[in-house]
């Protein structure tokens, strides 16, 4: 069965949510959003999914601060963060390049990253572009640090990094990524070529399994229908589904 790269990524991210109770997904994150909804389908509805951009899948009623309070209460198990730059210690930069505050390239800003990265136990870094431009030795601006000294209260932190080429796990103690699997078509050599930071290699690097027909059926069926409400453009372009 044919599948698209986005469907593979949805599957990879969804597998990282297995067994959790509540995942929140930020606005403008169609692939993580679809992954959360796929994980919910697989859990038989046990996984609670809060999609922040959504009117239908966002349960919050106490204003935009509620997400942050909810995370601090320990009620959110997983969240996704991205980054204009991500470095090998899992620091992320959402602010810009070329000096600060007068940045040559200015991105939107840090959003809630500097908080949620500390308080959500399983933060999954996701960035489709896997290049030396994005995955750098050292970010130019630390929107949110990958690790903290032991005295800093930090029940949360990075769990994994998923890109368009590979999946990494993050070792918080060593502050380093470990290559977990390369997506079909990639090799350890291609990953090394396109990654700007050092990372650990296991003895044997697996290939990321392609999504099964059952998974593709869920993605193109109930998940696609649900995601079309919040990300109509994505659902139409990638999944061929129009909003109901």
């Amino acid at each position: 069965m044919d599948w698209r790269k986005e469907e593979l990524l949805i599957d990879v991210l969804a597998c990282m949510l297995e067994g959790l109770g509540h995942v929140a997904v930020g606005a403008a994150s169609p692939i993580p959003g679809a992954a959360a909804l796929l994980a919910r389908e697989r859990s038989g509805g046990q996984l609670r999914v809060s999609v922040l951009g959504s009117e239908r899948h966002n349960p919050f009623t106490d204003g935009s601060r509620e997400l942050f309070d909810c995370a601090a209460q320990g009620r959110i198990d997983a969240f996704f963060l991205g980054g204009g730059q991500i470095d090998g210690a899992a620091n992320i930069n959402l602010v810009g390049l070329g000096g600060y505050p007068r940045s040559r390239v200015r991105w939107p800003g840090s959003f809630g990253s500097a908080y949620l990265y500390f308080l959500v136990p399983r933060v999954i870094l996701f960035r489709e572009e896997h290049s030396r431009r994005v995955l750098v030795q050292r970010v130019e601006f630390v929107s949110a640090p990958g690790t903290s000294p032991p005295e800093v209260y930090r029940p949360g932190g990075a769990y994994a990094l998923v890109t368009g080429r590979a999946s990494f796990r993050f070792d918080r103690g060593r502050a380093r990524f470990l290559l977990q699997s390369v997506h079909p078509g990639e090799t350890v050599a291609s990953i090394l070529e396109h990654t700007g930071f050092e990372f650990d290699l296991p003895g044997d690097v697996a290939e990321t399994p392609a999504p099964t027909p059952a998974t593709l059926g869920l993605i193109r069926g109930p998940v696609g229908a649900a995601i079309a409400e919040t990300y109509p453009g994505f659902a139409a372009r990638v999944l061929g589904i129009s909003a109901g």
């Binding site: 403008a28 005295e151 209260y153």
Partner: protein, 276 residues
């Protein structure tokens, strides 16, 4: 309180140099007032994103109305980065006070409580802290004294001079229904002046029944209300109308250059009759 008033009169109540709390595109944006500010033109505004900003901030920045921005982000969402914001930062034309969502919420809640500061978990080690010398780190006074240090961030109150937003409806007493967009209630509590445009002014009191009162900002916190149909166009109003995606795409395209932005202003802002 004068009810109803007009978008222009609301704009006149926002002096040049004021600190102005504004909501993101998904919350409630009083765009008729924003366009009136640009036509004036307003100058040296200090924008506060609650907690982030979108279309309306890019518009005000591009039009030269803004001196500084305190926000967790400025973005056009699905339409991509905010081009006039990025250009103004690059050109050094605005001062950017980068923050993060919960710091802004905490600062506004401190103002709501008449407090000089609130504490907050997380954030330590972010470069945001390095660039915001007014944030303080203390050792948690409640930690076990025999245990390890427990550093915690304190952030100062954020007291906007003016809060400006759009909401579905108000009543003749000036009570404003905002539904689940509770951050609008927080800024109404925190700000000295709260100016609101609404889709309609309804005859019955919004406080008469708890079903409507539960989503209502009492008139006590509201300085003036102007009815403006489609007042959140083009970003949309939750539960009432969707964003005008075609228009927002056109904006993103035009605003990617200075000249294109000027054409946008000319066509959609400076000629008020053409605004829709």
């Amino acid at each position: 309180m004068k009810i109803p008033t007009t978008a222009s009169e609301l704009a006149a109540r926002i002096p040049d140099g004021a600190s102005l709390a504004l909501a993101p595109d998904y919350s409630g944006c009083a765009l008729a007032v924003v366009r009136a500010l640009i036509r004036r033109p307003a100058r040296a505004l200090h924008l506060i994103g609650v907690p982030q900003l979108g279309f309306q901030a890019d518009l005000l920045i591009g039009a030269g109305c803004v001196a500084s921005v305190e926000t967790a982000a400025v973005s056009l969402g699905e339409q991509g980065p905010a081009p006039r914001f990025a250009a103004a930062v690059k050109g050094g034309r605005i001062a950017i006070r980068d923050s993060t969502c919960p710091v802004i919420h905490a600062g506004l809640q401190a103002a709501e409580k008449g407090l000089p500061f609130l504490p907050l978990r997380g954030i330590l080690g972010s470069d945001l802290v390095r660039h915001r010398p007014e944030w303080r780190v203390i050792d948690n006074p409640f930690r076990d004294p025999s245990g390890a240090d427990d550093p915690i961030l304190l952030v100062p109150a954020i007291e906007p001079e003016v809060a400006l937003f759009h909401a579905p409806r108000a009543d003749h007493a000036g009570n404003v229904w905002i539904g689940v967009r509770r951050e609008l209630m927080t800024i109404a509590h925190a700000a000295r002046t709260t100016l609101v445009t609404v889709e309609e002014i309804v005859p019955e009191s919004l406080l008469a029944e708890d079903v409507s009162a539960a989503g209502t900002i009492p008139a006590l916190y509201v300085s003036a209300v102007a009815p403006v149909r489609e007042g959140a166009w083009p970003v949309g109003l939750r539960g009432v109308y969707s964003p005008d995606l075609e228009h927002l795409r056109l904006y993103a395209e035009l605003a990617s250059s200075e000249a294109g932005f000027e054409r946008y202003l000319e066509r959609f802002v400076l000629q008020p009759a053409a605004a829709k």
